[in-house]
Symmetry: D3
Amino acid sequence: MVYLTRVEHFNAAHRLSNESWTEEKNLEVFGKCSNPNWHGHNYEIHVTVKGEPNATTGFVFNAKTLGIIINETIIEKVDHKNLNLDVAFMKGKFTSAENLVMGIWCELKPEIEKHSVQLHCIRLYETPRIYVEYFG
Amino acid sequence: MVYLTRVEHFNAAHRLSNESWTEEKNLEVFGKCSNPNWHGHNYEIHVTVKGEPNATTGFVFNAKTLGIIINETIIEKVDHKNLNLDVAFMKGKFTSAENLVMGIWCELKPEIEKHSVQLHCIRLYETPRIYVEYFG
Amino acid sequence: MVYLTRVEHFNAAHRLSNESWTEEKNLEVFGKCSNPNWHGHNYEIHVTVKGEPNATTGFVFNAKTLGIIINETIIEKVDHKNLNLDVAFMKGKFTSAENLVMGIWCELKPEIEKHSVQLHCIRLYETPRIYVEYFG
Amino acid sequence: MVYLTRVEHFNAAHRLSNESWTEEKNLEVFGKCSNPNWHGHNYEIHVTVKGEPNATTGFVFNAKTLGIIINETIIEKVDHKNLNLDVAFMKGKFTSAENLVMGIWCELKPEIEKHSVQLHCIRLYETPRIYVEYFG
Amino acid sequence: MVYLTRVEHFNAAHRLSNESWTEEKNLEVFGKCSNPNWHGHNYEIHVTVKGEPNATTGFVFNAKTLGIIINETIIEKVDHKNLNLDVAFMKGKFTSAENLVMGIWCELKPEIEKHSVQLHCIRLYETPRIYVEYFG
Amino acid sequence: MVYLTRVEHFNAAHRLSNESWTEEKNLEVFGKCSNPNWHGHNYEIHVTVKGEPNATTGFVFNAKTLGIIINETIIEKVDHKNLNLDVAFMKGKFTSAENLVMGIWCELKPEIEKHSVQLHCIRLYETPRIYVEYFG
């Protein structure tokens, strides 16, 4: 079993807030992240697949194909978008990094597993100093 | 003459658009950056000052003091903010990286030059692959 | 289960030596790291916690709270310190990266697990090219 | 159990192609990577070993010794080399990152496990955005 | 005057050798870089242009347009190529980083200066630890 | 004129203090950096030379030779050392990054200029977020 990771990135706006809370409660829990006028990030995403290297290519998976899938399935939906307003798979969810990585997992998994490879992990950097990982 | 640089960062939302243009024209020039629902970045800022090292400290400028000035003068005004809506020194300006670095220069210069040191350069990364520099 | 990591850093001096050995033996095993006048590093620490995202926030753990815990429990005790002389939780131990990461784990675990989240891993970079990981 | 990682790098040329295929088929599968005149990379390798810290040193393994083993066993064989033509342990294999990391594992494992430590993982970056991992 | 930089990258093979020298002389001067079977790098290129921000866009130059020019003029000619064999603008030159940055400058300058902006500097990383800069 | 930069690093301990001041005054000016038991850094140094590429090599300067000079002239004197106690060229000086970069300049300049190339700039990172530059 070999693990192959491809890194992509996107830039997006978002806001953390619980609509059922007062503004004070949101500020207390989410701090500056609850700014009603939004803020944003350069997100970086690491998508890891696993499998046996193919005998005729030496590849677990073609990294170019993996890049195309990530771009068509995820990047086109989130890049230069507002995660709270513009992204169908995040509708009705808090746009925390945790929920975002789980949402991305659900979008990517069926597209990747059409091919003979398993999705193993998604790592999502919200900033260079805060990141989340999800293994399904 | 020695040059001292301190690096800080902030996360903000913004949008590029010329209000006097049609949406089509904005899309043609600014592409995805004109999304009306905003997008955002992890900005990184490098502030460079220059001067002679002080004989009693060995410092051109106290890097801790420089950090406090950058934070009080800039970071508090832009971090987790919408550059188009929330930032007084960007009012009425396109929030391109070029205009932003010039706006930051004008805010920082008087605060830094209250001390016996000159502001030399501000470098602003919008993404790890796009940055601007301004020398006044 | 989602994993959340926050990165912090500190600068410290240390020395590797076994007091029961001769200077020659120390030099043979620890090389330049045994310099009696100390050397130092910019350490970088990645603290990973795991749990289920909270239904009212979308967070596994509030990253701001995690940062406060790491700073109060670890960074204040080691930043700009001598790891051999100034740090209570390293007293009587070799200040190898391995022992340091284990010491940090023991300090952090009870503070983090007061909250409804588990400490999963600590990764400690001694230099950009040498790092250790501990999972308890 | 503590995990210790040391990072090294090497620069090499290679080419991806299946000699039993037509040039068109190679181009379709391997794209630009099948250029008959070669291309190359700055590879970065992370070698992770695991074990209990030694009571007389605080080390899982001496990082200097680990560096010497990686350099003598791997770097000298691949640095500034053509992976398809010059490297004995890759003879007859596609020089994909997957096959390369498995080949490196087989070279390194016996050399490292002469010492009282286990080889845990090798991570190999082909570019900053594509990497593979192998755990044996 | 504001300076705008865009970063791109490419992967290429090359070899350093002076054909009029013996193999021994080449080895003495160029070391491992003279391997007749080639080696290679992940090159990173920083292209800096300068000008006044445009009053209707806030841009010195559209970073998207700059990216297209760099890709069409340079990256397509050098990416996954052999710099000694495949690149017209390097024919008959040693493929040192110095000659390469000067060759890239001559290709890029007329394409960039068709627009109302000046090419200021090209920085070329051969490895993360060796880079060259050229200002014309 | 082409500029060539080579990056090296070293790990050292130091302390900032003015012996003619009280401990309180030192703490006020230098903060945690005045800890009498030292602290330390992973320093990174960028040495830039400039000149015309040589017609028989394509080099402004042989990067391997530059690396040897930096290592023999600087790294061996400062790596795993105490900058206040162990380094002859810093004796009697505050070990601020500013003074250190000027001290390194004076050591390197005559060694580099024995060759047909000029020393242009030294950039010294004390941390990833604080660096100084000196041009002589």
